[in-house]
Each structure stands twice: as structure tokens, then as C-alpha cells.
């Protein structure tokens, strides 16, 4: 993947419009997913996603393919994390009426998906209640699949801190699932 990323970056730097589109299509879902999870607002998330890619292409020459695992995704996710944090700070400074659109409401799962879908909805609701740092590391780890080292680099914290935050985030989510009755008492007894 890293060699492929490097090739893609070289083509983008040469000004190939098709490669630009390929790069955007490859990573935009991850970036948008993180932004939605962090901002709880689809329109804001799309705006931030666009900003993220503008910054990515602005500083694409500075991307070091020898750093980390040589993959492009952690670097892009780092930029996304920074932009989300900046956006949240700016939004906190200007108190205005924002109608948050939770993904659970925006994309209701199909009824036939059953318990798994309901469980996913509960997990999303639980994530929305987490504090920002916990939600960030939980999303980067469980949804984006980044390793601890890349998350630590993205959030500018030591790996130990990331592990602690993730541990607490999981406990809070588990506690909510238990409180919401997603774990049956019978199952408790059986397990």
C-alpha cells in the first residue's frame, strides 16, 4: 500500500487530475466518517472534509513516505484530526443554534438488519456521549483501524495516553450498553 501511495502522490504532484480524484475517492470516506463522528453535523463534516483535502494537496510535497509505515492514511487522518479540533474550537467560540444530525437519525438502519443494527445505533449514541478525546481515539482505533502509534502521532499524545483514553472510552461504552439493556441478564448468567 505504501508503494502504491507513493506512486499516487507522485502522479498527483505532477498535476494529474485523474490521480487527484483517485486519492480523494480513496480516503474521503474515512475522513468524512471521522468528521461526522467528531462534529455530529453532516454539513460541517463535509466542509471540514473539503478543507482537509485542500490542505493535503497543499502540503503533499512535505509528505514523507519513509516516515511511519509509509502509508498515506495516517498522515491524512492527522490533518483531519487537527482540522476537526480547530473546527470544534471555532464552533465553541461562536454559540449559534446548530441542529445536530446524528448519524443514527440521518441513516436509520433497515429494520430487517435486526439486533446488530440496533446495537450499532446504541454504540453510535454511546460514542456521541463520550468526551472528544475518548471519542477521537475510539473512532481512530475501531472505525479507522489505525494502530496505537499512528493514533498517538495524530492526536499528539504518547501511546500510553492513547491506550488509557481508549480503555476508558470502551468502559464507558460498555457501561452504556449494559445500562441500556443491550446485554441480557440471562446471557450474563450463561456466559
Amino acid at each position: 500500500m505504501s508503494a502504491e501511495d507513493a506512486m499516487l502522490v507522485r502522479r498527483c504532484l505532477r498535476g494529474d487530475a485523474a490521480s487527484v480524484q483517485v486519492l480523494v475517492e480513496r480516503f474521503q470516506s474515512d475522513v468524512l466518517g471521522l468528521c461526522i463522528r467528531m462534529l455530529h453535523h453532516r454539513q460541517d463534516a463535509e466542509d471540514v472534509t473539503q478543507e482537509v483535502f485542500l490542505r493535503v494537496f497543499r502540503s503533499l510535497r512535505r509528505w514523507d513516505s519513509t516516515r511511519g509505515h509509509g502509508a498515506l492514511k495516517p498522515w491524512i487522518m492527522t490533518i483531519a484530526v487537527n482540522r476537526c479540533r480547530t473546527w470544534m474550537t471555532q464552533r465553541a467560540r461562536r454559540p449559534e443554534l446548530v441542529e445536530y444530525l446524528h448519524e443514527t437519525a440521518a441513516n436509520p438502519p433497515h429494520r430487517e438488519q435486526g439486533d446488530a443494527a440496533e446495537l450499532a445505533r446504541e454504540i453510535q449514541a454511546a460514542l456521541a456521549e463520550l468526551r472528544d478525546d475518548y471519542r477521537l481515539v475510539f473512532t481512530l482505533y475501531h472505525e479507522q483501524g489505525l494502530p496505537y502509534e499512528d493514533i498517538a502521532e495524530a492526536v499528539h499524545k504518547p501511546v500510553g495516553t492513547v491506550k488509557t483514553w481508549l480503555h476508558r472510552a470502551r468502559l464507558e461504552v460498555l457501561e452504556r450498553l449494559r445500562r441500556r439493556g443491550m446485554v441480557s441478564e440471562v446471557e450474563h448468567e450463561l456466559s
Binding site: A116, I123, M182, H188
Partner: protein, 228 residues
């Protein structure tokens, strides 16, 4: 295994560790209801995370991002080109000015020639006031000269007329008796008044005379323009 160790093992399980459940954990979960509930919730969490719907970005968003990126790149290229052109233009202008200055500069000074023909120190220019005083002096001199010339001409004419007349000598002229006789009282009072006025004016005239003498003495000598 205590609750803390059980939770650590649970975290490893959520990290994706594919190890089988150790017997100590099973034993602890059987004895501790909260830990058993946590273990069950963790299993549900794993299932739920896999069921999370993937975020779908709309095609419109992709097109918008690509268009924005390409547009920004075009603007950047245009900006760089403009900056380069401006830099080259400035450099060319500076070079042109330097060449013009180099071609128009004065020839180099030969120090040997300077030693052979040393420059005479220039006299300082007269101040403006002195020039004006000189002009006034010339004007006064010409006026005075004109009056003197007229007087001289009249005197010459008078002398010529007088010489042509056959006049008796001054000694042979009869004495004017009337002038020696005392004046009548009215005339005397008039003379006294005249003398009084004259004596009153005398200090003023003396002062004026002294001032005029001083002025004439202090004025620099100049040559009157000759008439002939």
C-alpha cells in the same frame, strides 16, 4: 484473577487479540457479576462495531473536493508565474538602470592632471545686500553727476554772457546806502524773528550736516561716469 486483571484481559480481547479465554477469566466471570456483564457487553460491542454502517460520501462531495483542489492548484500556479514574472521584471529594470548609470557616469578623474592644474579657489559670491548697495550708489552718483553737469553748463553760459558785456569794475560801483541805513521797526522785528527761527533750526541743520558729512565720508569712493 481479580477484577482489574479481568478488565485488562477484556481490553486485550477488544484490541483484537485472538487468544482463547483463559480458565482464570472464566472462573472470575462466573464469580463476579459486574465483570460477567462487562464481558457480555464487550462481545456485543464487537458485534456492533462490525455492524456500524460505513460512511458514504456523495459523488457531489467528491466532485466538489476535486474541483476545489484543482482550482486552488491553478491559482497557485498562476500566482507563482506572476511572482516569477514580477521578479524577472524587477531584475531587468534594476539591470537596465545600472547599465544606464554606468554609461552615463563622468570620466574617471586623472590625478596627475589634477596635480598639474590645481583648481583656483572660487571667490565667494557677494551677498545680495552688497549688490543692492552698489546699485544704489551708482544711481545716486549718476543723479548727482547730471545736476552738476547742468549747473556747470549754466555757469559756462553765464560766464560767456558776462564776459561779452563791458561791465565796470566792482570797486567803481556806487555804494548802496540804503542797505546801510537802519531798518524800520517792522523790518527789524521781522529780522529778529528770522534770526530766532534760524538759531532754533541751527542745531537741526548742524545735526543734518554732520550726518550728511558722515554719510559722505563713509561712502566708498567711486568713479563718476564721464560725460565726454
Amino acid at each position: 484473577m481479580n477484577c482489574r486483571e479481568f478488565q485488562d484481559w477484556l481490553q486485550q480481547l477488544l484490541d483484537g487479540a485472538d487468544a482463547p479465554c483463559p480458565p482464570e477469566a472464566t472462573l472470575h466471570a462466573g464469580a463476579c457479576a459486574p465483570c460477567r456483564a462487562l464481558q457480555s457487553a464487550a462481545r456485543h460491542l464487537n458485534v456492533g462495531l462490525k455492524a456500524l454502517p460505513p460512511t458514504q460520501a456523495s459523488t457531489l462531495l467528491t466532485q466538489s473536493i476535486v474541483a476545489a483542489v484543482l482550482d486552488e492548484r491553478r491559482q497557485r500556479v498562476r500566482r507563482v508565474r506572476r511572482r516569477v514574472a514580477l521578479t524577472f521584471g524587477l531584475a531587468a529594470a534594476i539591470l537596465f538602470l545600472m547599465l544606464v548609470g554606468w554609461f552615463n557616469q563622468a570620466p574617471p578623474i586623472d590625478r596627475n592632471k589634477m596635480a598639474q592644474h590645481p583648481q583656483q579657489p572660487r571667490e565667494p559670491e557677494a551677498p545680495q545686500l552688497v549688490k543692492r548697495a552698489d546699485a544704489a550708489r551708482v544711481a545716486v552718483a549718476s543723479l548727482t553727476g547730471r545736476v552738476a553737469d547742468q549747473t556747470k553748463e549754466q555757469a559756462k553760459l553765464f560766464m560767456a554772457v558776462a564776459n561779452s558785456l563791458d561791465l565796470p569794475p566792482m570797486a567803481s560801483l556806487p555804494a548802496l546806502k540804503g542797505l546801510e541805513e537802519p531798518l524800520d521797526p517792522a523790518a527789524q522785528s521781522l529780522r529778529q524773528a528770522t534770526q530766532t527761527v534760524a538759531s532754533g533750526i541751527e542745531p537741526i541743520t548742524n545735526s543734518a550736516r554732520r550726518a550728511f558729512t558722515f554719510f559722505v565720508r563713509e561712502m566708498p569712493v567711486f568713479d563718476l561716469p564721464s560725460r565726454n
